[in-house]
């Protein structure tokens, strides 16, 4: 299933181009760099900082149906963990296919233990995770 990463800041697309081309760390970047100079998109997702005119470090996973399934927001001084983002992303794709299953906190990738919630599992999550 296809996915697109769109990075968004309040810079314009022209600044994105200039940054991508001047910063060697970004040479391998292939994702779309979205421009939100009005801050309206950041505002719509609740990550616009009115005091600075900048967007906080917010990450949102949106399904092919347009549903927001995850949100994570960090303040300026904490970077995001890409492994955790990919874990959440893979889990969402997996659960979209296997709608009866849920991915526990230790789930990392396809083949790892999932749970299928039912009345029989109530109070028995420990046993279900072992099984």
């Amino acid at each position: 299933m296809g996915a697109d990463i769109v990075t968004v800041s309040t810079d314009t697309e022209f600044v994105h181009l200039a940054w991508r081309k001047s910063e060697k760390e970004l040479q391998s970047v292939r994702y779309l760099m979205g421009a939100d100079p009005t801050g309206n998109l950041a505002r719509a997702f609740g990550v616009y900082d009115e005091d600075t005119g900048l967007a906080l470090r917010g990450t949102f996973i949106i399904s092919p149906e347009g549903t927001v399934l995850n949100s994570e927001v960090n303040f300026y001084n904490l970077g995001r963990n890409v492994d955790e983002l990919m874990r959440k992303f893979k889990a969402n794709i997996y659960m979209a296919r296997k709608t009866g299953e849920v991915c526990p906190s230790k789930w990392k990738d396809e083949g790892d233990k999932t749970l299928s919630p039912s009345a029989r599992m109530v109070g028995k999550v420990h046993e279900a995770l072992q099984g």
Binding site: I5, E13, L32
Partner: protein, 56 residues
């Protein structure tokens, strides 16, 4: 005032958007919108950050 997640509810439809973007693969500008993403049945990860030319 900052109100993270104001008006945003998980499990509900994302706010509609259409913004300009720089596409490094095509080395060109184009629009990206929620409608185009859902029409193409593609997942979207929106990754906000404070500013270009800083230390992400």
């Amino acid at each position: 005032m900052n109100e993270p997640h104001a008006g945003l509810k998980l499990g509900q439809k994302a706010p509609d958007f259409e913004i300009n973007a720089y596409d490094p693969v095509a080395d060109d500008f184009r629009k990206v919108s929620l409608k185009a993403q859902t029409d193409a049945k593609r997942w979207t990860i929106l990754f906000f950050y404070p500013a270009d030319f800083t230390f992400v």
